[in-house]
């Protein structure tokens, strides 16, 4: 059945085209269902072959579609292996749920069909990225995903801030894509091809450490752009301008994890470059810490979740940097579930509060929105890393792997722990401010539970958030076994005895509980603490990193462009005009010679004649 894989990509594309061109005629609910149907169909087609991997009896396979750029040996080819199968499941699974959710959420929007067209386009591009069998096709998916995120962020383009956020997202992504392009230049120079199997097959024997480091660092630049790591994370908070399902799908579950997926896919290259592993891990940890700190101060519910995503991505990048690729991917999966759930929950709250996103004006929604309350509760516990929930297992595995490395890695492990505390703290703050305590609603707000089409996805995601952790408990690493074919030949993290694992796990659990308790006691009061002044304000605006960029990169860039444009007019045009006026003034200078008086002409004639005679005689060698 695996040779139907191209259908998985094709159906959403068709869905996007149908909604784009026939959207107006199809009208509101139907186009939504078409979008949902397309993604669900892809999901169903992909499920059966995926189970094959689960059972361990099917092999990874590549599917040749057509030869794309012959001169570079690039073919449109899909690779079906456990890693891509897993990501396909996440993309289509979570994607389908979010499509269903969007039907309710986007109700009444005049460009309803256009929204689902863009969503389908996103799913298709993400699937191209995930199923690519070579870097070139992956890059196609990579940029198309950037395009669809641009379209979706600035979906309500009449709002100038939304349009600016979309543009900012695409341009920052493009900076990352430049890194990807240069990496591909090096890869083609080194291997003469982009195909994964050839590259990962021959790399260990052939590639030198410097080349591997260069390639991997450049790939990391791309990943930083896409997965919002330091220094290219500034676009994600602004991306919240887009509709909430977009944030849930793109800026939580799928697109932002593309960077982590790509690094996991290139694990062989990262293994050859320990130095870049260290750099990646450090940046991951630093990003996690910074984002967690900022998240604590945020008042807008979506921005809290945005910074939380950046922080959790930092964890995954830390995992990949440390070499625990399976752990990274595992956290990616669990994060997809509970972060999507959190966003959708937040969406449901915003929907209920008719657009209000400031937590200061919420509170006491527990009774009004029980389903959202319970599902977000599950996600809250999961992300904080409380015992049976999925977040605990995946986060713990990354921290354990970091700890096992020993040496300097302890520092990163320490940061990891601090981030775990902060995560628990800000998530509890969010949960308490939103659902518990005295209602602080505006006068006209009268919240009510969201319709079924929005709550069902919440419940499904909630189930996954709770149960999925068990798939990969330290005692029965079935998840690792599942991904094994994709990471064959990658050394496992050693030194993790059962005793060490349980003790580390208990440390993270205790720390998480501590975080929750502190936050609970601080915010579960009627009189909310005033969070203004000094540290709070600075953190609120992300420590001014944004306008730092503005002052040091955007402004000088614009001045340089002004200079270039003026230089064009002054210098180059000046030179051209100089020549032109030079010739013209030569003419003007000769004019007075033509005085009009016969005797001047006769004089010049005579002088010229004499000159000619003299020259002829000299040339001829006469007299």
């Amino acid at each position: 059945m695996t040779d139907l894989i191209w259908l998985v990509v094709a159906i959403p594309l068709v869905g996007a085209a149908v909604n784009l061109f026939l959207g107006k005629r199809i009208g509101e609910p139907l186009s939504g269902w078409i979008g949902f149907g397309a993604v669900a169909a892809s999901f169903l087609i992909a499920v059966e072959p995926m189970l094959g991997f689960f059972a361990g009896d099917s092999e990874p396979s590549t599917h040749f579609l057509f030869s794309w750029i012959p001169v570079l040996g690039v073919n449109a080819e899909l690779l079906w292996d456990p890693l891509s199968a897993l990501l396909t499941m996440i993309v289509t699974g979570v994607g389908a749920l979010i499509h269903l959710y969007s039907i309710g959420y986007m109700h009444g929007d005049e460009r309803f069909p256009r929204f689902f067209s863009y969503l389908n386009l996103f799913i298709a591009s993400m699937l191209i990225l995930v199923l690519a069998a070579n870097y070139a096709v992956m890059f196609v998916g990579w940029e198309l995903v950037g395009l669809s995120s641009y379209l979706l962020i600035s979906f309500w383009f009449t709002k100038p801030t939304a349009a600016a956020a979309g543009k900012k997202a695409f341009i920052v992504n493009r900076i990352g894509d430049w890194g990807f392009l240069v990496a591909m230049m090096l890869i083609f120079a080194a291997f003469g091809t982009f195909d994964f199997d050839i590259i990962f097959g021959t790399a260990p024997g052939v590639l030198s450490v410097t080349m591997a480091t260069a390639i991997t660092l450049l790939l990391f630049v791309a990943a930083a752009g896409k997965s919002a790591q330091l220094p290219l994370y500034i676009w994600l908070p602004d991306a919240m301008e887009g509709p909430t399902p977009v944030s849930a799908l793109i800026h939580a579950a799928t697109m932002v994890t593309a960077g982590v997926f790509m690094m996991a896919r290139s694990a062989v290259l990262f293994e050859l470059a320990p130095v870049s592993g260290g750099i990646v891990a450090t940046i991951g940890a630093a990003t996690a810490l910074l984002a967690a700190v900022i998240a604590v101060s945020q008042r807008d519910i979506k921005r809290v979740l945005a910074y939380s995503t950046i922080s959790q991505l930092g964890y995954m990048v830390l995992g990949v940097g440390v070499g625990a690729y399976t752990a990274g991917v595992f956290h990616l999966t669990t994060h997809a579930f509970f972060k999507a759930l959190l966003f959708l929950g937040a969406g449901s709250v915003i929907h209920a509060m008719s657009g209000e996103q400031d937590m200061a004006k919420m509170g006491g929604l527990r009774k009004k929105m029980p389903i959202t309350f319970f599902t977000m509760g599950a996600a809250w516990l999961a992300i904080s890393g409380i015992f049976p929930f999925s977040g605990f297992w995946s986060k713990d595995e990354i921290l354990a792997a970091t700890f096992a490395q020993g040496g300097a890695w302890y520092l990163l492990w320490g940061i990891g722990i601090v981030v775990a505390v902060l995560t628990a703290f800000y998530m509890t703050r969010l949960f308490v401010l939103t659902f518990l305590g005295k209602p602080r609603w505006d006068a006209d707000a009268h919240p009510h539970e969201s319709p079924a089409s929005m709550t069902i996805p919440l419940i499904v995601l909630g189930a996954f958030t709770v149960s999925f952790g068990l798939v990969n408990t330290p005692f029965r690493l079935s998840f690792e076994h599942f991904l094994e074919p994709s990471f064959h030949g990658i050394p496992h993290v050693e030194g993790l005895t059962n005793v060490l694992i349980t003790s580390l796990a208990s440390v993270t659990l205790v720390v998480a509980i501590a975080g929750i308790v502190v936050a609970w006691r601080r915010y579960r009061v009627d009189e909310l603490p005033v969070e203004v002044g000094g540290w709070w304000d600075r953190a609120l605006v992300g420590f001014g990193v944004d306008d730092l960029y503005g002052r040091w990169i955007v402004a000088p860039g614009r001045r340089a462009s002004e200079l270039a444009s003026r230089a064009d007019a002054v210098v180059l045009d000046g030179a051209a005009h100089g020549i032109a006026t030079g010739v013209r003034s030569a003419g003007e200078a000769l004019k007075p010679v033509q005085s009009g008086r016969v005797r001047t002409y006769a004089g010049i004639l005579a002088v010229a004649a004499v000159a000619l005679v003299v020259v002829t005689v000299l040339v001829g060698g006469g007299f």
């Binding site: 010739v583 003419g587 010679v593 033509q594 006769a602 004639l605 004649a609 000619l612 005679v613 001829g620």
Partner: protein, 495 residues
């Protein structure tokens, strides 16, 4: 050729007979210009046919030196030669004469009785011009030169009522005769140095150089230089060009066409005959000098034309530049002759056509002809505007127009003769040329003028229209299909 048949001078005879008949008819027909007009046209055409007849005769039994029948003692220095060169010159001068006559008919029909004198002068002038090209004898060339010049001095001042016409005639006369005197003194010194006045024949200049090394060439060089000065004045090459702008601007527009075209064709033919025919062995003396003069003419011509506001002055200066390109063809020696003749033939028609358009727009008489007068010509008379555009593009050396073929082939010959720098100067000055030719074109096609004047409101006489059509047709056809004319011209290189 025992009996001295009249064929070698058939061209001149045709014109002279025509002139005489014209005078007789004019006395009888008084005012009615329509009577003697066609006669002039027929005479010109007849002269061209005479040229063709000469061509065919030469093609059958070879050229010859004439008026050298045995019993005359001047077998050693014949007066007239009939070869493809002179026959081609006759054909070109005849047809150019005809077209410029058409162009000037507006002027002549307005002059009433004096119109006849205008035509007679045109006929005699063209006869003089051909004498220059068909004679190997330096003095006869001088006589031809003077005949034509005197005729054109009068034509320049023909509309005496206007002040500019007086000034133009006087300047042309004084400077022209000064230059002729210089040329004559050159011939005298050459005669003194070589003992012969004729290029061909037994005791010719060419034989003189053939059989001895010139030990003390002083006198000869001065003579050669002075002859060069005379001819370069006539063909308006810089720095001897200063008369041209003033004379062309002052002279009546109808007359200027023939003056500009005819003198250039004859001047360069004579230059080619003397220097390439007679003094080819001295080529490494006069060629570099001609090259410098050519470059100077190109530069001065284009640069000055760039800053002109009067159409006739602009065309005069562009004539100086074209003289530069033609001189370059001569510098290339025999290789360049083909290009020279092609360029001369097509340029003559273009310049006549251009001046006819000026006379259509600003009236055939003398008077100011600013470029702005051409503004919006496309709406006033689109056919004239398009034809003038074709002529302008032809002159600018645009491909698919005649000027390009002549210029490129001249450059090829010049490059082969080793003057690369001259080709570069030529190519760059062509760019400047393009600017002021396009300025004329765009002025015509710019539609600023209010169309109140109505479409095609400018009335154009049949004769002028026919002249411009022929000129533009020559420019276009020989631009797109130059090859037949090129082969025809190649056979006209007797030496």
């Amino acid at each position: 050729m025992e009996s001295a048949s009249l064929l070698p001078v058939a061209f001149e005879v045709a014109l002279l007979v025509g002139a005489l008949l014209l005078l007789l008819v004019a006395v009888v027909a008084e005012r009615k210009a329509s009577v003697w007009g066609p006669l002039v046209g027929v005479t010109f055409l007849l002269s061209a046919v005479a040229g063709l007849w000469q061509w065919m005769d030469v093609a059958d039994n070879g050229g010859g030196l004439f008026f050298s029948s045995q019993n005359f003692a001047i077998v050693r220095s014949p007066m007239v030669v009939m070869d493809e060169f002179s026959a081609l010159a006759a054909m070109v001068l005849g047809t150019v004469g005809f077209v410029s006559f058409l162009g000037s008919w507006d002027l002549q029909s307005r002059l009433g009785k004096r119109g006849v004198e205008f035509s007679v002068l045109m006929l005699l002038g063209v006869a003089g011009l051909h004498m220059m090209t068909a004679s190997p004898n330096l003095v006869v060339i001088f006589v031809g030169l003077e005949t034509a010049s005197i005729a054109f001095y009068i034509l320049a001042g023909f509309t005496r009522k206007t002040r500019e016409s007086d000034e133009s005639a006087l300047k042309y006369f004084l400077l022209g005769s000064l230059a002729s005197a210089l040329f004559l003194y050159g011939t005298a010194l050459t005669f003194a140095a070589t003992g012969s006045l004729s290029i061909y024949g037994a005791n010719s200049i060419r034989n003189f150089f053939a059989d001895q090394i010139v030990t003390d060439p002083g006198i000869l060089l001065v003579g050669l230089a002075l002859m060069l000065v005379g001819l370069m004045f006539k063909t308006s090459a810089a720095p001897f060009h200063q008369w041209a702008p003033d004379v062309y601007q002052g002279a009546p527009s109808g007359a200027v066409g023939l003056m500009a075209a005819g003198v250039k064709v004859a001047g360069f033919a004579a230059l080619a005959r003397i220097f390439m025919g007679g003094m080819i062995s001295q080529v490494d003396i006069w060629a570099p000098i001609l090259a410098v003069v050519a470059a100077l003419s190109m530069i001065v011509g284009t640069v000055m034309a760039l800053v002109q506001d009067d159409v006739k002055r602009l065309l005069a200066y562009s004539g100086v530049a074209h003289a530069g390109y033609l001189l370059a063809a001569i510098v290339a020696g025999p290789e360049g002759l083909e290009a020279l003749w092609f360029y001369l033939a097509t340029y003559a028609f273009m310049i006549v056509g251009a001046f006819t358009v000026v006379s259509i727009v600003n009236g055939p008489g003398a008077g100011p002809t600013p470029i702005s007068s051409l503004k919006g010509l496309a709406s006033r008379s689109s056919e004239t505007a398009w034809l003038m555009a074709i002529i302008m593009l032809g002159m600018s050396g645009m491909p698919f127009f005649a000027g390009f073929v002549g210029k490129v082939l001249a450059f090829v010959a010049v490059e082969e003769a080793g003057y690369l720098w001259l080709v570069v100067v030529g190519a760059l000055t062509t760019v400047i040329g393009l600017v002021f030719y396009l300025r004329v074109v765009i002025t015509m096609f710019s539609s600023e003028t209010d169309d109140s004047a109505g479409v095609d409101s400018l009335e154009v006489s049949i004769t002028s229209r026919f002249a411009v059509v022929i000129a533009a047709a020559v420019t276009l056809t020989f631009g797109v299909l130059p090859w037949p004319l090129l082969d025809f011209v190649r056979s006209a290189i007797p030496f």
